[in-house]
Symmetry: C2
Subunit: 198 residues, 2 copies
Amino acid sequence: MPRVPGSKTPPDDAAALTAAQDRFIEVWGQMGSAWGISRTMAQVHALLYISAQDLCTDDVMDRLDISRGNASMSLRALVEWGIVERVHRRGDRKEYFRAEPDPWVMFRAILRQRLKREVEPLLASLYEIRDATRHSRADAGSLATEHNRRLESILNAFSTLELVSAKFIGPAGEGLLQAASLLASIDHDPEQQRRTHA
Amino acid sequence: MPRVPGSKTPPDDAAALTAAQDRFIEVWGQMGSAWGISRTMAQVHALLYISAQDLCTDDVMDRLDISRGNASMSLRALVEWGIVERVHRRGDRKEYFRAEPDPWVMFRAILRQRLKREVEPLLASLYEIRDATRHSRADAGSLATEHNRRLESILNAFSTLELVSAKFIGPAGEGLLQAASLLASIDHDPEQQRRTHA
DNA sequence: CCGAAGTTTCAAGAACGACTGAAAATTGGA
DNA sequence: TCCAATTTTCAGTCGTTCTTGAAACTTCGG
């Protein structure tokens, strides 16, 4: 719907903003699905994040053109992930939702959840498998020996990964990040990234 | 198929090994699908990794009970990811496949690919969106302003993430990891992990 | 305590990606 | 060069996950 020239309504800036939001929502949704988050859930999050306003279920439904059930599920999941919070307005019965504005806080929340949901169970299973095998006769051929060695390797690697992540998640995390980013950016032109993607 | 007692065939150690492998394959497949890798592909990788032998397409098909097409596709993808290599045996026309044995080398290969495939395009899109919006009139309301601020935030965060990852991937990566793991493990009992998951 | 506004649940269906199997292409040896 | 072994491709099918929509539920004001 093109703007009427000279119209008194706000200029196309509003439309441009909406378009930019849509692109962001699209892109964020893509990324989400590549990392095992449902596309819609990522899009709901993108909308809340980029619009920088508290939105209610109906706002989300209308803007993303999804069903009420879907919106409800996605919002609940985002709240469970700790990257969206419910907010209430006095004199209004509706619930509104607000996205965590700090990306680093968001990353840490996501990492925390994924560690708990995916890495911890994995580690537990790996330990179980190792222990079930361990007691078998000394070495009934190097096959079993090599199997054990590999299991041990992967266990060590994941344990370390978990420890590092725990530090990042924990209270010292902010500091650790700064240290790492400082470390990482040594001998890097700060605008170098830009050019790479331009 | 229970073992005949006193049989001359090798004891159930072989069966136990197979069972352990199966569990590993299962668990690894689960994890893969949680992180956006097809379950089968992750299982093929698990099999190659844990069996610590070079296997051919038919071995994989038979062991995982999947079709030839699927096995072929999965193996090719794993090779593209750089965590499995093709090996040839002289006098044998078949191709065999071997998994990278070092988990850290593997992690770095995976990270490298995911950065290239998912994060870089994301960053490129985000820059594009930012620049498309940038030239709109100064601030036609704080909505657009806040939009820009948020876009900027997420851009900064991802740029930093990419820089840190690049360091980890690059030649200094091994060292960086050691530093991080050392840093992370300060005031941690090395067997503490174990108990957590036991 | 009732009724309206709002939210959640869940069975059925739609949409999506994965898998199969057979045909086509490739490869190496004779 | 030809043949047989092996690998790759891809259209169709299959299975899983996502989405819908309406009913059940909850909550709050009156």
